[in-house]
Amino acid sequence: MSKTLFEKIWDSHLVLEEENGPSLLYIDRHLIHEVTSPQAFEGLRLNNRKVRRPDLTIATEDHNVPTSDRSLPIVDQVSSIQIKTLEKNCKNFGIQLFGINNPNQGIVHVIGPQLGITLPGSTIVCGDSHTSTQGAFGALAFGIGTSEVEHVLATQTIWMEKFKPFEIRVEGKRKNPFAVTAKDIILSIIKRIGTAGGAGTVIEYRGETISELSMEQRMTICNMSIEAGARAGLIAPDEKTFEYLRGKKYTPKNYEELVDEWRENLKTDSNAKFDKSFTLDAKNLAPQVSWGTNPAMVSDVTEKIPFPEEFAKDLSQQKGVEKALQYMDLKPGIPITDIYIDRVFIGSCTNARLEDLIAASKVVKGKKVSSKVRAMVVPGSQIVKKQAEDLGIDKIFIDANFEWRESGCSMCLGMNPDILGPGERCASTSNRNFEGRQGVGGRTHLVSPVMAAAAAIKGHFVDIREMDLN
């Protein structure tokens, strides 16, 4: 029978299939971090249970760690307790931890692929919704809650209702791939299918534009699948995928054998059926900027802030837009390029990998951040930071008056000291523009790294396609 890639991975991980109910699925890789794991370990302890497969489990500290000088103690006492708790739990349960001072520390979804923990055809879970990032390698990777973290720790399995396969094709050659990035593609998809458009599904991204993207760009696409309501995003592995994972810390010894097998099997059969399908034409796509309080509230940079009445087809949506514009303090009808910003954040599991930083540095090189803007770069991991420093990219940012910081989730969710003040407006390369996400009363505009860099220089949004680059 013809199967989609998702169905192949699902079927090969079934431990138990019940007639009318969820299936028991085996988990190959379990990544944990300090925020969603303490209560899971506590549950194990109370019931006198062990971690079944510490050898398939890896931990890091990313969500609440400071991105300032790491030789100093953590000032926030509550964060510090959470970090110490993870360290104690990992020690007691025999789990490897890439802690705050480890050279492999970083955002969990960035280090997974970088260390070769992520493998095509595998199942990967983590108590974080952006686990979907790792689907870019043809793995079934999805976020879970803390009860499920406990369940996976204890049993290395999870009960799951089968998702439905959703095909999203991205076709057409972009005229300017430097300016119109993977971030613009995914924001544009979410705008069109909505924040619940992918509910109950695993999205497989396909088509010529997807094939052209680098691995890091594919991760940006899969990362935001959750913002479209999907549990996971998936891209069939190809030679780029295999090359990316070659020679990493955890790349398996029999890697080339595995690659031959993956090349053969890890793709959707030609007659396989998807439950849903959607196609985006990327040919004429423009850089995207979000203006509202969910990731579907997005426009081309050349457009104006919409009027709520434009959404009159759906009354609850119209109300939502009104409320969003009020929160964002934006007037309908003003051009996006007239929006001035206070802060710039280049970071997060969406856009803090080496290519993102290289691209942004090309915009910044030889220029200065606007005097009205505070801008920071937070590399996705210590490895990314080191790679960038080896290329001298840190200097380009520092010379332009960007802050160059240590790795972590940082201002994407503001659990550490990197937050927006009330009313502050930020051009951010992260994934969520929810009310207060980056700080109580803060206003987030989601953009690509090059658009964020351009906004930092000019002090307001600009169409990166029209900017003079050296």
């Binding site: 431990v15 490897q96 809650g145 803390t146 499920e148 549990r231 969910n294």
Partner: protein, 194 residues
């Protein structure tokens, strides 16, 4: 997990789409290492003004709904982050049932792991329930909601229903299949990270 009993209560009408988990529990409260005590942080940025005094225009601060155990809301409730703290906060605050036309996937699953009953009803019925002023009864055993004037049936999958009614420990349940897991592991070729 406690066994789920019949719930009778007035309903809190929360007429909003796309309520994300960042609103249900803002991130500044995710640093605790226990599961208890999150109720006071529920909808914090909406419930309280910047001076930390209650925002009187927010629905949960209306004394009428003080003892409500049932929250009625709109599409895509619980979207965004996977944080289970959202469910812990709703329960700790006093909610036992949430009704909406649709829920975000991870949130929906988190509800059932903690004994919070999430019920999906069609938009027309939700619109009607949003206006109801009298108590309603949620009877999981018989999969019905009783109002003063009508009986509304709802769907739930058998597995989730059984777990809720019996307050089952899912891990203990899974560990009964140890042999199956072991059998799978014998043929699995996944590489070790040690």
């Amino acid at each position: 997990m406690d066994k789920f009993k019949k719930i009778k209560s007035i309903v809190t009408p929360f007429d909003k789409v796309n309520v994300d988990t960042d609103q249900i529990v803002p991130k500044q409260f995710l640093k605790l290492i226990q599961k208890t005590g999150f109720g006071k942080f529920l909808f914090y940025n909406w419930r309280f003004n910047s001076d930390e005094k209650p925002n009187s225009s927010f629905i949960l601060n209306d004394p009428k709904y003080k003892n409500s155990k049932i929250l009625i809301t709109q599409d895509n409730f619980g979207c965004g982050s996977s944080r289970e703290h959202a469910v812990w906060a709703l329960q700790d605050y006093g909610f036992s049932v949430i009704i909406a036309p649709s829920f975000a996937d991870i949130f929906f699953s988190n509800c059932f792991k903690n004994g919070l009953l999430a019920i999906i009803l069609n938009s027309k019925i939700v619109e009607k329930l949003l206006k109801i002023q009298t108590e309603i009864e949620v009877d999981l055993e018989n999969q019905i909601i009783k109002t003063d004037t009508e009986i509304i049936p709802f769907q739930i999958d058998e597995y989730k229903k059984k777990n809720l009614l019996n307050g089952l420990d899912e891990i203990a349940l899974t560990l009964k299949y140890q042999d199956k897991i072991l059998e799978y592991e014998k043929k699995s070729t996944i590489s070790s990270l040690l």
